[in-house]
Amino acid sequence: MSGGVAVAGVGMHPFGRFEGLSTTDMGVTAVRAALREAGVGKGGFQAAFCGTAYGGVATGHKVLSRMGLTGMPIVDVEAGCASGGAALMLAAGAIRAGQYDTVLVFGTEKMPKGIIRSSFFEPWQEEAGLAATPAFFALRAQRLLQTSGVTKDHLARVVVKNRRHGAANPDAMYQKETSVEEVLSSRVVSEPLHLFMLCSPNEGAAAVVLRRADLASSGPAGARAVAPAVTLAAAVLRSHIPGPVLSESTPLSGLPDDGVPSPSTLAATAAYEEAGLGPADLDLVECQDTDAARELQSCEELGLCEPGASGALVDSGATALGGRLPVNPSGGLLSKGEPLGASALGQVVELVRQLRGECGPRQVEGARVALAHTVGRGANAGVVILSR
């Protein structure tokens, strides 16, 4: 990435359910924490991008109204599950273009409970029962089971792994471990997906301050003086190429052709090129695991293993903490839950903390290069690569 971009500070509001707290409240908590880390106050950043899908009009303005406004541009960004990744891409591009020195990027969300109701679907699709998001996940999972060595047991073990990781993450919604037996005895939502294999839509916020890399070390004295500098090596958003009937674009028809690259593969390919790195360079990954099969599909699409080999990747233990390439050391969305506009930046916060060595019992030792991936309706796929 020409004209380097550094991460000057990160902040989180935990993901979960928070009665009495608004979308704005949670955003304020995350933004204040990130600005504090970056040593930035009012006037210290020239633009703000806010990822949100359900926040409503001027979500970003409402958050920043609580901390001193300067007339700067504040732009809300909606790109489904990849909203935060889209906001990060826009902010990084603006810094590289020389438009700004320092930009605030945040995401905040308060999702309704239950199956996500999306204005993406037409009313007749809802009426016909064809707006059932878990069913689309399940149709993809069925294909994975039919066409590779992946079994239901693999799906359960993904959940067990992520929930074990999440037990060590104080920002996660579920901090309790589970077992293969417990996962497989939870009710079937849509075959082959059981309840425990699906993430919960929920609430939370995350924030990141980006700064021109050549200015990053000249911040206020004491601001992150001891932490290693983390660089944004790539931030890419891609949409879909039509054809795959089970694409996140959720069409009603598609082509009998399994060779069309997915939005996640398009985004990953572009991100690896932008960073000048490849899958073999990665030390850890946070990827979209809205359901257990989605994590395996993500691993294949991101090139972490050969197509069809994600079951073997689980068997090898590589993706667990302590393995060769830990996937979702934060516990993933299966442990954290998914607040759409905040989930991608939540991944980035986790990876920045991992690269700084701040993650305690879930620390990936010696991590230097990390990748974050989100994908969802639109279709939208975001891939972010960070390094130190």
């Binding site: 064809l130 993809r140 009603l252 028809s253 082509l255």
Partner: protein
Amino acid sequence: MTGPPVMVRAGLFRDGDAPVLLASRCTRCGQVLFPRADGCTYCSAEAPEPVELAGPGTLWSWTAVTAPPPGYRGEVPFGVGVVELPEGVRIIGRLTESDPAALTAGQQMELRVVPLHTDDEGNDVVTYAFAPVASS
């Protein structure tokens, strides 16, 4: 029932002894579009020609919905699946079979029109669905 069945969306399918899906075919790249569209998502050509898809096709993926999704007024469980039609298109739709264990990959599926629920005026609301072809 007080009137004839109401289609869940006009222009999606035609009911009758041999129901069909109403689709379009791009006059430039030849791809099939369902539902009907006024432009091709694959090549951007405008004014695709109307075609009718009659089936039968083969089952490509399937599952069942066990809890009512948002905005749905019918009964659960119900099947949802992807059927590949000989016209070179895969279609997502309801399945008449709601037990995933009763279905197998590649089996023949035919087009049906099935009731969803009764609307506030007492009319049956119907949609397209795929049903296993009875083995003879």
